[in-house]
């Protein structure tokens, strides 16, 4: 029975030779290996909270504790203003949702090739599977943290400190989320390919995350940025994502406009250039890792 399955799939001819210059993206190969993407994502999820006492609660604790710290220091001590007088904790938590997803995806995906080196040196598969599945596995954490957001929103509504309503704009979270994932994957494709050759990337990653956090409106509001800088500020796709999240959930005046188009174009450029670079470097991974 098993043999029949092989007989049906006609033998395809593969020619192996040294590839010169820039190669096609070969997304078909990735499609053939889609089950591997699924299994690697599933492995990441299964393993992530193994042998931790708090288990999956970490998905919530991370953004929640950040929110507490930010609320004390930025909201309480520094009196960072929020849009429309929204309470600082929920204002920052809404930004922390996509931010935590982004920064974890960026970190895990950038390290994915080096941490799976034995697979790279022993087996053939499209290497794109590794960063891609690392990015996808962060989505589950995001969804869990989103449930907590609903809890926080309910609390503020019930105590009358804020008025958060469900609007039609909520569906836009999906494209915004996609934009965050695209950006994380795009940067990670560049960094993971460089990491194979230069371990310096491992030292750059932590402070790259920090810098990106402060040039994104996580602890403050975009409206604090002077008008003449707004277009340059929008070059950071995560600014677009966080503004969108705040607009869709909290109704801040940061809805879609020209700046979003800039952010989206930059995200796309990062992703496509990352894929091209990754494909080009892929052939040397097994030899240099």
């Amino acid at each position: 029975m098993a043999k029949a399955a092989i007989a049906i799939s006609e033998p395809k001819t593969v020619v192996i030779r040294s590839s010169k210059g820039w190669t096609a993206l070969n997304l078909r190969d990735l499609w053939v290996y889609r089950e591997l993407v699924y299994f690697m994502t599933w492995r990441d999820l299964k393993v992530r909270y193994k042998q931790t006492a708090l288990g999956v609660s970490w998905a919530v604790i991370q953004p929640f504790m950040n929110m507490v710290v930010f609320s004390i220091f930025f909201g309480g001590l520094a009196h960072v203003p929020t849009d429309n007088g929204i309470p600082y904790p929920i204002f920052s938590f809404v930004a922390l949702l996509p931010w935590t997803l982004f920064t974890n995806a960026l970190n895990n995906a950038s390290r994915s090739l080096v941490s799976n080196q034995n697979m790279i040196t022993k087996i053939y598969f499209p290497k794109l599977v590794l960063p891609l599945s690392s990015v996808l596995s962060g989505l589950v954490d995001f969804l869990i943290a989103f449930v907590v957001l609903i809890g926080i929103a309910l609390y503020y509504n019930l105590t009358g400190q804020a008025h958060i309503t469900i609007t039609a704009a909520l569906w836009t979270l999906i494209p915004y989320l996609l934009m965050a994932l695209m950006t994380a994957l795009g940067i990670a494709l560049w960094l993971s390919a460089l990491y194979v050759q230069y371990r310096d990337v491992g030292y750059i990653l932590p402070f790259l995350s920090d810098i990106l956090k402060f040039i994104s409106p996580v602890v403050y509001s975009t409206t604090m940025i002077p008008a003449k800088w707004q277009m340059i500020y929008a070059l950071n796709p995560m600014a677009g994502v966080i503004n969108g999240f705040r607009w869709a959930i909290l109704g801040t005046p940061t809805g879609p406009d020209t700046r979003l188009i800039i952010s989206a174009v930059v995200a796309l450029v990062i992703l496509v250039s990352g894929m091209i670079y990754f494909r080009r470097m892929e052939r040397t991974f097994a030899d240099t890792i």
């Binding site: 033998p11 299994f39 040196t121 022993k122 087996i123 460089l194 097994a286």
Partner: protein, 430 residues
């Protein structure tokens, strides 16, 4: 019918780092020092866009060179050669893990490669989960794994622990499970590297049996091994590789014979030229390995009824602590007969715990009436236990043992077994 695998002018080059600096004039040195950062930066940039650049003075080796061969559908081809001959690199190119530098390979069919079992196994996952994960990594479809699941578990003999994380497995169980998944892969072309060396003897037999089945089913198999009896059992034809080149393609028995006798200097003595010893052996330097008779004459054929001496001559450029010189005696087919170290004896172990720089000979006597007739391989090794291995040559010497005059020679039949001792039999009537 077109060949399933067609290899043409295949070559693979690796960079091996900068060569040591040679003596130059001062002005050269200064201009070098000034331009080096720029050239280095240039190399870094070109390498980051995937160009295979060599810096001036950088050395490289051809791990494969001018390889040409074809494999027909259903053929089982053995690949043999010493360590570093390029066998593994060849398999890596064939399984698309690494790209060749020159030439091409045309492959008609799905390739499954087993260069190592258990790749992608995660210690935290259970046996069941790892079967699915590893299957997917090896290119099996989810439904395919599901269908073969019970078979895989039964083959691995770990039914009881299938829902236990594999980090709690013994190393034997781990390897059995890993091999079981790999063995149920059903590609048209199977590329196998040494995976038979897993588990205990029983399980190895089972693995060999499974490989035999695969070969019987008419699939194409490329099989790399140092185990000559496995090569002979599983393959009809083999290629022999040496220093990155294919030097012989012949029926397996002929290829194995060639391999076993090739590269070994005059029987009975092996001499290492100082410039051919790997640099990382220092401060140890092997000089010669010899087989001597009672009078100190070099032997090329040993008589099984007489004692002979194995002698290893070597030099130490600096003092070494805990050094031990080992010999590995095995049959030409690759089965071990014995392993022995010069400091096995407690006396020697204490007295020679550290050896000052100098010239040494470590020798031992193999008693008469010990080995059966046949062809044997002698390997040597110099190491400090759990510290470092200075030098190793698994096939330093091959020699013949002539069993004429041995016990039982009145019957002209071959005697199975590695040993042919003269045992004290007593025959009593009661």
């Amino acid at each position: 019918m077109k060949p399933v695998i067609q290899v043409e002018n295949l070559g693979k080059r690796y960079r091996i780092g900068l060569a040591p600096q040679r003596y130059r004039t001062l002005s050269e040195n200064i201009s070098q020092a000034l331009s080096r950062p720029f050239r280095r930066a240039g190399a870094i940039i070109r390498r980051s866009v995937g160009q295979d650049v060599l810096q001036p003075g950088e050395e490289y080796i051809w791990a494969l060179q001018d390889i040409n061969f074809e494999v027909q559908h259903g053929q089982v081809l053995g690949i043999i050669g010493r360590n570093g001959a390029g066998k593994s690199t060849l398999l890596k190119v064939l399984s698309r893990i690494t790209e060749p530098t020159t030439g091409s390979v045309t492959i008609r069919g799905r390739v499954g490669s087993l260069l190592e079992v258990g790749t992608g196994f995660h210690p935290e996952l259970t046996g069941r989960e790892n079967i699915y994960l590893n299957g997917a990594i090896l290119g099996m479809r989810n439904t395919e794994i599901g269908r073969k699941f019970d078979e895989i578990v039964a083959f691995s003999e770990v039914e009881q622990f299938i829902d236990t994380p594999v980090k709690r497995y013994s190393s034997g169980m781990y390897l059995r499970l890993a091999f079981a998944v790999a063995a149920h892969l059903e590609p048209e072309i199977l590329v196998v590297d040494e995976v038979l060396a897993v588990g205990d003897v029983e399980f190895q037999k089972k693995c060999l049996g499974k490989m035999g089945d695969v070969a019987q089913e008419g699939r194409t198999v490329l099989f790399v091994s140092h185990n000559m009896s496995a090569v002979l059992r599983l393959t009809q034809e083999s290629i022999v590789m040496e220093k990155g080149r294919l030097i012989l393609r012949a029926p397996s028995s002929e290829a194995v014979d060639y391999y076993l006798s090739a590269g070994n200097a005059k029987a009975g003595e092996r001499i290492w030229d100082a410039d051919k010893v790997p640099a990382d052996a220092a401060p140890f330097r092997p000089i010669a390995l010899r087989l001597l008779d009672k009078t100190g004459k070099i032997l090329d054929t040993v008589r099984s009824t007489e004692e002979f001496k194995i002698e290893m001559e070597y030099a130490l450029a600096g003092p070494l602590t805990g050094l031990r010189i080992g010999i590995y005696l095995s049959t030409a087919r690759g089965e071990y007969v014995l392993t022995s170290f010069d400091t096995d004896d407690q006396k020697h172990f204490e007295k020679h715990g550290s050896r000052p720089a100098g010239h040494y000979v470590s020798g031992c006597v193999i008693p008469p009436d010990f080995l059966n007739g046949g062809r044997y391989t002698l390997g040597v090794n110099a190491s400090s236990y759990r510290v470092r291995r200075y030098f190793m040559d698994e096939q330093a010497l091959t020699f013949n043992v002539d069993s004429s005059g041995a016990p039982g020679m009145q019957w002209a039949e071959p005697r199975p077994g590695v040993l042919r001792p003269r045992l004290e039999w007593k025959i009593e009537t009661k």
